[in-house]
Symmetry: C2
DNA sequence: CTGGACCTTCCAGTGCAGGGGAAGGTCAAG
DNA sequence: CTTGACCTTCCCCTGCACTGGAAGGTCCAG
Protein backbone atom coordinates (compact mmCIF):
# COMPACT_ATOMS: atom_id res chain seq x y z
CA UNK A 1 0.00 0.00 0.00
CA UNK A 2 1.34 3.40 -0.91
CA UNK A 3 1.36 6.35 1.43
CA UNK A 4 -1.65 8.12 -0.08
CA UNK A 5 -3.88 5.10 0.27
CA UNK A 6 -2.77 4.44 3.84
CA UNK A 7 -3.33 8.07 4.71
CA UNK A 8 -6.86 7.97 3.38
CA UNK A 9 -7.64 4.73 5.20
CA UNK A 10 -6.31 6.15 8.44
CA UNK A 11 -8.03 9.48 7.98
CA UNK A 12 -4.94 11.60 7.66
CA UNK A 13 -2.56 12.93 5.02
CA UNK A 14 0.58 11.61 3.36
CA UNK A 15 2.42 14.63 4.68
CA UNK A 16 1.49 13.74 8.23
CA UNK A 17 2.58 10.13 7.82
CA UNK A 18 6.01 11.22 6.62
CA UNK A 19 6.13 13.51 9.63
CA UNK A 20 5.20 10.64 11.94
CA UNK A 21 7.96 8.51 10.46
CA UNK A 22 10.43 11.33 11.01
CA UNK A 23 9.26 11.61 14.63
CA UNK A 24 9.70 7.90 15.21
CA UNK A 25 6.00 7.12 15.57
CA UNK A 26 6.10 4.90 12.51
CA UNK A 27 9.06 2.68 11.66
CA UNK A 28 10.88 3.56 8.45
CA UNK A 29 8.66 2.18 5.71
CA UNK A 30 9.64 -0.51 3.26
CA UNK A 31 10.39 0.86 -0.18
CA UNK A 32 9.37 -0.29 -3.64
CA UNK A 33 12.20 -0.60 -6.16
CA UNK A 34 11.45 2.94 -7.31
CA UNK A 35 11.69 4.35 -3.81
CA UNK A 36 8.01 4.69 -2.93
CA UNK A 37 7.07 3.89 0.66
CA UNK A 38 5.23 0.57 0.80
CA UNK A 39 3.09 -0.17 3.85
CA UNK A 40 1.57 -3.32 5.30
CA UNK A 41 -2.14 -2.91 6.03
CA UNK A 42 -1.51 -3.35 9.78
CA UNK A 43 0.17 0.00 9.82
CA UNK A 44 -3.28 1.56 9.86
CA UNK A 45 -3.84 0.13 13.35
CA UNK A 46 -0.71 1.86 14.58
CA UNK A 47 -1.93 5.15 13.19
CA UNK A 48 -5.28 4.57 14.85
CA UNK A 49 -3.44 4.12 18.11
CA UNK A 50 -1.70 7.43 17.60
CA UNK A 51 -5.10 9.02 17.06
CA UNK A 52 -6.52 7.42 20.20
CA UNK A 53 -3.57 8.76 22.13
CA UNK A 54 -4.18 12.22 20.75
CA UNK A 55 -7.86 11.95 21.63
CA UNK A 56 -6.75 11.23 25.19
CA UNK A 57 -4.77 14.45 25.14
CA UNK A 58 -1.32 12.87 24.94
CA UNK A 59 1.45 14.53 22.97
CA UNK A 60 3.12 12.76 20.07
CA UNK A 61 6.24 12.42 22.22
CA UNK A 62 4.26 10.60 24.90
CA UNK A 63 2.56 8.38 22.36
CA UNK A 64 5.96 7.60 20.97
CA UNK A 65 7.16 6.50 24.40
CA UNK A 66 4.32 3.99 24.56
CA UNK A 67 5.04 2.70 21.08
CA UNK A 68 8.73 2.37 21.89
CA UNK A 69 7.97 0.24 24.93
CA UNK A 70 5.68 -1.94 22.86
CA UNK A 71 8.28 -2.18 20.11
CA UNK A 72 10.79 -3.36 22.72
CA UNK A 73 8.48 -6.30 23.28
CA UNK A 74 7.11 -5.16 26.63
CA UNK A 75 3.57 -4.24 27.62
CA UNK A 76 3.29 -0.49 28.14
CA UNK A 77 0.35 -0.75 30.60
CA UNK A 78 2.05 0.86 33.57
CA UNK A 79 3.57 3.66 31.59
CA UNK A 80 0.19 4.34 30.00
CA UNK A 81 -1.34 4.47 33.47
CA UNK A 82 1.28 6.96 34.63
CA UNK A 83 0.78 9.13 31.56
CA UNK A 84 -2.98 9.13 32.06
CA UNK A 85 -2.54 10.10 35.70
CA UNK A 86 -0.20 12.93 34.80
CA UNK A 87 -2.49 14.13 32.04
CA UNK A 88 -5.44 14.04 34.39
CA UNK A 89 -3.63 16.17 36.94
CA UNK A 90 -2.70 18.67 34.22
CA UNK A 91 -6.26 18.87 33.03
CA UNK A 92 -7.62 19.45 36.51
CA UNK A 93 -5.16 22.28 36.92
CA UNK A 94 -6.03 23.76 33.55
CA UNK A 95 -9.71 23.64 34.37
CA UNK A 96 -9.11 25.35 37.70
CA UNK A 97 -7.09 28.09 36.03
CA UNK A 98 -9.70 28.62 33.36
CA UNK A 99 -12.47 28.73 35.94
CA UNK A 100 -10.57 31.39 37.88
CA UNK A 101 -10.03 33.35 34.69
CA UNK A 102 -13.69 33.01 33.84
CA UNK A 103 -14.63 34.46 37.21
CA UNK A 104 -12.21 37.34 36.75
CA UNK A 105 -13.53 38.16 33.32
CA UNK A 106 -17.14 37.78 34.39
CA UNK A 107 -16.55 40.38 37.03
CA UNK A 108 -14.77 42.73 34.64
CA UNK A 109 -17.58 42.24 32.19
CA UNK A 110 -20.19 43.10 34.77
CA UNK A 111 -18.39 46.34 35.59
CA UNK A 112 -18.29 47.13 31.91
CA UNK A 113 -21.97 46.43 31.33
CA UNK A 114 -22.82 50.11 31.16
CA UNK A 115 -19.75 51.82 29.77
CA UNK A 116 -19.30 55.44 30.64
CA UNK A 117 -16.59 56.61 28.28
CA UNK A 118 -16.42 59.97 29.98
CA UNK A 119 -15.15 58.41 33.18
CA UNK A 120 -12.30 56.62 31.42
CA UNK A 121 -9.12 58.60 31.58
CA UNK A 122 -6.81 58.02 28.65
CA UNK A 123 -4.06 57.37 31.16
CA UNK A 124 -5.52 54.10 32.28
CA UNK A 125 -6.61 53.35 28.69
CA UNK A 126 -9.75 51.63 29.90
CA UNK A 127 -11.06 51.68 33.42
CA UNK A 128 -12.83 48.38 32.96
CA UNK A 129 -9.68 46.41 32.52
CA UNK B 1 14.23 56.95 31.57
CA UNK B 2 16.12 54.26 29.72
CA UNK B 3 14.69 50.94 28.72
CA UNK B 4 16.25 48.91 31.51
CA UNK B 5 14.87 51.13 34.22
CA UNK B 6 11.41 51.20 32.67
CA UNK B 7 11.47 47.44 32.34
CA UNK B 8 12.31 47.01 35.98
CA UNK B 9 9.62 49.44 37.09
CA UNK B 10 7.03 47.69 34.97
CA UNK B 11 8.15 44.25 36.03
CA UNK B 12 9.36 43.04 32.68
CA UNK B 13 12.53 42.96 30.57
CA UNK B 14 14.13 45.36 28.11
CA UNK B 15 13.89 42.64 25.49
CA UNK B 16 10.15 42.42 25.96
CA UNK B 17 9.70 46.18 25.70
CA UNK B 18 11.52 46.27 22.38
CA UNK B 19 9.29 43.44 21.27
CA UNK B 20 6.19 45.38 22.37
CA UNK B 21 7.35 48.39 20.39
CA UNK B 22 7.88 46.21 17.35
CA UNK B 23 4.35 44.81 17.79
CA UNK B 24 2.85 48.28 18.02
CA UNK B 25 1.87 48.05 21.69
CA UNK B 26 4.23 50.88 22.56
CA UNK B 27 4.79 53.87 20.30
CA UNK B 28 8.32 54.23 18.92
CA UNK B 29 10.31 55.64 21.81
CA UNK B 30 12.06 58.98 21.80
CA UNK B 31 15.79 58.67 21.40
CA UNK B 32 18.69 60.30 23.19
CA UNK B 33 21.37 61.84 20.95
CA UNK B 34 23.31 58.60 21.17
CA UNK B 35 20.35 56.51 20.07
CA UNK B 36 19.18 55.11 23.38
CA UNK B 37 15.43 54.80 23.86
CA UNK B 38 14.20 57.47 26.28
CA UNK B 39 10.85 56.95 27.97
CA UNK B 40 8.44 59.19 29.83
CA UNK B 41 7.42 57.75 33.22
CA UNK B 42 3.78 57.46 32.04
CA UNK B 43 4.83 54.69 29.72
CA UNK B 44 4.80 52.38 32.73
CA UNK B 45 1.01 52.79 32.96
CA UNK B 46 0.66 51.62 29.39
CA UNK B 47 2.72 48.55 30.13
CA UNK B 48 0.59 47.92 33.20
CA UNK B 49 -2.44 48.02 30.95
CA UNK B 50 -0.87 45.42 28.70
CA UNK B 51 -0.34 43.24 31.75
CA UNK B 52 -3.92 43.67 32.89
CA UNK B 53 -5.08 42.67 29.44
CA UNK B 54 -2.93 39.59 29.57
CA UNK B 55 -4.26 38.74 33.00
CA UNK B 56 -7.72 38.86 31.45
CA UNK B 57 -6.61 36.32 28.88
CA UNK B 58 -6.44 38.69 25.93
CA UNK B 59 -3.80 38.24 23.25
CA UNK B 60 -1.30 40.99 22.53
CA UNK B 61 -3.08 41.56 19.21
CA UNK B 62 -6.36 42.20 21.04
CA UNK B 63 -4.70 44.47 23.56
CA UNK B 64 -3.17 46.33 20.69
CA UNK B 65 -6.62 46.89 19.18
CA UNK B 66 -7.77 48.53 22.39
CA UNK B 67 -4.69 50.72 22.56
CA UNK B 68 -5.12 51.73 18.93
CA UNK B 69 -8.68 52.86 19.59
CA UNK B 70 -7.54 54.85 22.60
CA UNK B 71 -4.66 56.32 20.60
CA UNK B 72 -7.17 57.43 17.98
CA UNK B 73 -8.77 59.52 20.71
CA UNK B 74 -11.85 57.34 21.23
CA UNK B 75 -12.96 55.39 24.28
CA UNK B 76 -12.50 51.66 23.71
CA UNK B 77 -15.23 50.62 26.16
CA UNK B 78 -17.45 48.84 23.70
CA UNK B 79 -14.66 47.03 22.00
CA UNK B 80 -13.35 45.93 25.38
CA UNK B 81 -16.80 44.64 26.25
CA UNK B 82 -16.97 42.68 23.00
CA UNK B 83 -13.52 41.22 23.56
CA UNK B 84 -14.41 40.17 27.10
CA UNK B 85 -17.61 38.54 25.83
CA UNK B 86 -15.72 36.68 23.14
CA UNK B 87 -13.02 35.58 25.56
CA UNK B 88 -15.64 34.42 28.02
CA UNK B 89 -17.32 32.29 25.38
CA UNK B 90 -13.95 30.79 24.41
CA UNK B 91 -13.16 29.97 28.00
CA UNK B 92 -16.51 28.30 28.57
CA UNK B 93 -15.89 26.18 25.52
CA UNK B 94 -12.37 25.31 26.61
CA UNK B 95 -13.61 24.32 30.03
CA UNK B 96 -16.30 22.13 28.50
CA UNK B 97 -13.77 20.43 26.23
CA UNK B 98 -11.36 19.86 29.08
CA UNK B 99 -14.13 18.47 31.27
CA UNK B 100 -15.11 16.05 28.52
CA UNK B 101 -11.48 15.05 28.09
CA UNK B 102 -11.16 14.60 31.84
CA UNK B 103 -14.14 12.25 31.83
CA UNK B 104 -12.71 10.28 28.93
CA UNK B 105 -9.35 9.90 30.60
CA UNK B 106 -10.88 9.09 33.95
CA UNK B 107 -12.70 6.23 32.35
CA UNK B 108 -9.61 5.01 30.52
CA UNK B 109 -7.69 5.25 33.74
CA UNK B 110 -10.25 3.17 35.60
CA UNK B 111 -10.03 0.45 32.98
CA UNK B 112 -6.28 0.50 33.33
CA UNK B 113 -6.31 0.32 37.11
CA UNK B 114 -5.35 -3.34 37.12
CA UNK B 115 -3.29 -3.85 34.00
CA UNK B 116 -3.21 -7.31 32.57
CA UNK B 117 -0.37 -7.21 30.09
CA UNK B 118 -1.17 -10.66 28.86
CA UNK B 119 -4.48 -9.53 27.47
CA UNK B 120 -2.90 -6.71 25.47
CA UNK B 121 -2.23 -7.75 21.93
CA UNK B 122 0.73 -5.98 20.36
CA UNK B 123 -1.56 -5.17 17.43
CA UNK B 124 -3.57 -2.71 19.42
CA UNK B 125 -0.42 -1.58 21.25
CA UNK B 126 -2.37 -1.03 24.46
CA UNK B 127 -5.89 -2.16 25.09
CA UNK B 128 -6.45 0.58 27.62
CA UNK B 129 -6.14 3.36 25.13
C1' DC C 1 42.28 54.69 29.82
C1' DT C 2 40.10 50.72 31.04
C1' DG C 3 36.46 47.88 32.75
C1' DG C 4 31.87 46.84 33.19
C1' DA C 5 27.13 47.95 32.83
C1' DC C 6 24.13 49.36 29.82
C1' DC C 7 22.41 50.17 25.19
C1' DT C 8 21.77 49.29 19.84
C1' DT C 9 20.43 46.12 15.77
C1' DC C 10 19.77 41.78 13.66
C1' DC C 11 19.28 36.79 13.36
C1' DA C 12 17.61 32.65 15.18
C1' DG C 13 15.23 29.52 18.21
C1' DT C 14 11.60 27.82 21.62
C1' DG C 15 7.14 24.13 21.67
C1' DC C 16 3.52 21.71 19.17
C1' DA C 17 1.78 19.33 15.12
C1' DG C 18 1.90 19.61 11.15
C1' DG C 19 1.05 22.56 6.19
C1' DG C 20 2.82 24.81 1.73
C1' DG C 21 5.18 24.50 -2.08
C1' DA C 22 9.36 23.76 -5.20
C1' DA C 23 11.92 20.60 -8.10
C1' DG C 24 12.09 16.39 -9.75
C1' DG C 25 11.03 11.02 -10.32
C1' DT C 26 7.42 7.17 -11.47
C1' DC C 27 3.53 4.92 -13.21
C1' DA C 28 -0.73 3.72 -15.67
C1' DA C 29 -4.17 5.17 -19.04
C1' DG C 30 -5.34 7.00 -23.40
C1' DC D 1 4.18 9.88 -26.31
C1' DT D 2 2.03 12.64 -23.29
C1' DT D 3 -0.87 13.78 -19.56
C1' DG D 4 -2.04 13.68 -14.88
C1' DA D 5 -1.95 11.58 -10.51
C1' DC D 6 0.96 10.11 -7.44
C1' DC D 7 5.44 9.84 -5.17
C1' DT D 8 10.30 11.60 -3.46
C1' DT D 9 13.31 15.03 -0.71
C1' DC D 10 14.06 19.61 0.76
C1' DC D 11 13.34 23.74 3.23
C1' DC D 12 10.47 27.21 5.07
C1' DC D 13 6.03 28.85 7.40
C1' DT D 14 2.18 28.92 10.82
C1' DG D 15 0.64 31.05 15.95
C1' DC D 16 1.99 32.90 20.43
C1' DA D 17 4.95 35.63 23.28
C1' DC D 18 8.89 35.94 23.97
C1' DT D 19 14.21 34.59 24.78
C1' DG D 20 19.21 33.99 23.53
C1' DG D 21 23.12 35.51 21.59
C1' DA D 22 26.44 37.95 18.49
C1' DA D 23 28.65 42.18 17.21
C1' DG D 24 29.17 46.60 18.18
C1' DG D 25 28.24 51.49 20.43
C1' DT D 26 27.86 54.54 24.89
C1' DC D 27 28.53 56.07 29.37
C1' DC D 28 30.38 56.51 33.96
C1' DA D 29 33.47 55.28 37.86
C1' DG D 30 37.98 54.46 39.33
Amino acid sequence: MRIGELAERAGTTAKTLRFYEEQGLLPPAERTPSGYRDYAPETAARIDFVHRGQAAGLTLAQIRQILDIRDDGAAPCEHVRDLLDARLAEIEQQIAQLAALRDTITELRRDAAHPEPATCSPDQVCRYL
